[in-house]
Amino acid sequence: MKLKKKISVLDQHDKFGFWGGRFGGNFVPETLKKPINDLEILFNKLKNDEKFLSERDKYFKNWIGAPTRFIKLSNLTRYVGGAEIWSKVVSDANGGAHKIYNATVHCLLAKKSGKKIICGDTGAGYAGKMLSMAAKKFGLKCKIFMGAKDIKRQQPNVKAIRRNGAEIIPVYTGSQTLVDAVSECMRFWVANCDTTAMCVGSTVGPNIFVKICGWSTSQISRELKSQILEEFGAMPKRLKLYNCVGGGSSSFGFWNEFMDYDKKQVEFIGVEAGGPSKSKKHAAPLTYGSKIGILHGAAQYVNQNNEGQIEETESISAGLDYPGVSPLHCFLKDTKRARYTAASDEDALKAFKIVSKYENIRPSLEPSHAFSVAISESKKFSKNTIVIVNSCGDAYKDRNILKKKLGVVL
């Protein structure tokens, strides 16, 4: 399995939609074949259309607030005492997380296709919040599917979704988390694909949804690349990009523009959710060697038993609490372009405490996983190593958990 250069990873799939011949694809009911095909035609046309691109850029700049900051974490660097630690503060984006890019693009596409309703899934509530914001902006009716457990633990985002006028449909099946929300959202789309557009909240799902999401979040690395060149004058000799990985939308977007660099120069480190340190359950299929299976229309490494039943996950971070992972990351793992590891719930909480103590940013529990690994590895790196962590979400949504676990009041 080999990664090609000078061609976007997003386009390195075969005619059946498989990356590396085995990840991704379209394992969908017959009913969804046509709406998926329609979306493919629309997206393939628009992604090279100058007018559409300038429309996208206009919304990214004026509405989302591109570019988000790229800042040095001087105090944290001094505390850690190793590599230079920087952060791309993607949580600056309108709404407080990277999910806004994908939501905006999906709403633009829905408008072009003449659909009046858009449905989407959410775990941490950010994908749902952003979709409800974008839907409101573009005058679309919006339905958000969310696991009942996540509704309880991510109340600030639930309230925001409702304030934006979207309907939240609680999902009570299975583990009542993201995996069930995605399933229920797909079912809704099967029954309503003639009138409704679907936004999959991460780089998961049937091939075209992986592509649209990755294409949208790549804005992060486009910005970062020029910010790095501006800051350092050239690409640093040793650059390490840390990002949390649940479905994998923020990490893919954070890395995409750096894909062609040698990994000795620009290394990608994906941090999955290891779950509570005392629990056997986790949401880290890449780290713990889960087998390839099919989940939500795509082949990927996924937590499952030997009969092929999808296993329940456990993580303090609702946004990473997903048994599968993007086919793109499976591809990056097997081509050895990216390295994957996991941080536990406790690690993430500790990292949140350290980062928010030394710096004026407050990463949500998802990027706190990435910070945890970045901090512990940075100690061992030379001073001329540049470590960048994507702070892809704001912790306000986690205020109840942080208050309970750390006594922190946001």
């Binding site: 009911p29 299975g174 092929g308 039943q309």
Partner: protein, 266 residues
């Protein structure tokens, strides 16, 4: 040679009625009961579909989800599914049996091993919900080699060109999904429209047995009598759920229901 599935259709045709196809989930509400249900309904049903339960069924509505979760909770594994098929096939009123489910389960079991065990236990056909055409071409060929019918699905969203290609690659039976819905939705299209769509499929190749499924209940089954076959699934799963709620015997309840369904299409 005409396979058991085609024979079942011919038999129904001779009686001037559509074939009745039933769907239950293996292991619902218990492993024993699902075998008992199969045995008791096979007096009335022409072909029996048996679901192997998956816990992330993206194309199924609430009723079949409930049945699937119940079966998984009862510890139903593939070996139990095959055991049920084997015992059913040995029983007095055995009928052609079609296994139905999601591709990940087949993948984890191993495609070749799965087909070998299907053949060994006399499974007649397979419906894999999330393996559409053309992705299913290779697997469908493998099925044919093992003398197992791979059943292609067609939906109201299937384009005309696609329809032709699917029918060309289909085996003896085709499954037409009545409407845009997961299983068990309320029939939101008129039976007249469904039959007229169905006829478009038949016109392309009249020799293929085409069944209609999704949203069929005792209330609307007689309005769809023009089809080669009609599938009732969620309504049966719902009957099992209701009988459990009322502490009634699901075997007798479902058996009576299927008899009733049969009476409506005679």
């Amino acid at each position: 040679m005409i396979g058991p599935i085609s024979q079942a259709f011919s038999f129904a045709k001779r009686e001037n009625r559509p074939a009745l196809l039933t769907y239950i989930v293996a292991g619902d509400n218990t492993k024993k009961n699902s075998l008992k249900i199969l045995k008791s309904i096979s007096k009335y049903a022409d072909i029996c579909e048996l679901g192997f339960p998956h816990n992330t069924p993206i194309a199924d509505g609430g009723q079949i989800q409930t049945s699937s979760y119940r079966a998984i909770k009862n510890g139903t594994k593939f070996k139990d599914v095959f055991k049920i098929v084997e015992s059913f096939k040995k029983s007095k009123f055995s009928k052609p049996i079609i296994l139905m489910g999601y591709f990940n389960m087949v993948l984890q079991y191993g495609e070749s091993k799965f087909l070998k065990d299907c053949k060994k236990n006399k499974v007649d056909g397979l419906i894999i919900v999330d393996l559409p055409w053309p992705e299913n071409k290779k697997f469908a060929k493998k099925c044919k080699k093992s003398s197992i019918s791979f059943i292609q699905l067609i939906s109201p969203t299937t384009s005309k060109n696609r329809l032709k290609s699917i029918i060309k690659d289909s085996h003896e039976m085709i499954y037409y999904i009545s409407m845009l819905s997961t299983t068990g939705g309320k029939l939101k299209v008129s039976p007249f429209r469904i039959i007229s769509n169905y006829k478009k499929i038949k016109r392309i190749n009249p020799t293929k047995n085409c069944v209609i499924g999704f949203g069929i209940t005792k209330k609307n089954i007689k309005d769809l009598k023009a089809a080669d076959g009609l599938v009732v699934g969620s309504a049966i799963c719902k009957e099992i759920t209701n009988s459990l709620k009322k502490r009634q015997n699901p075997v007798t309840k479902v058996s009576n229901m299927v008899k009733n369904l049969k009476d409506k299409i005679l």
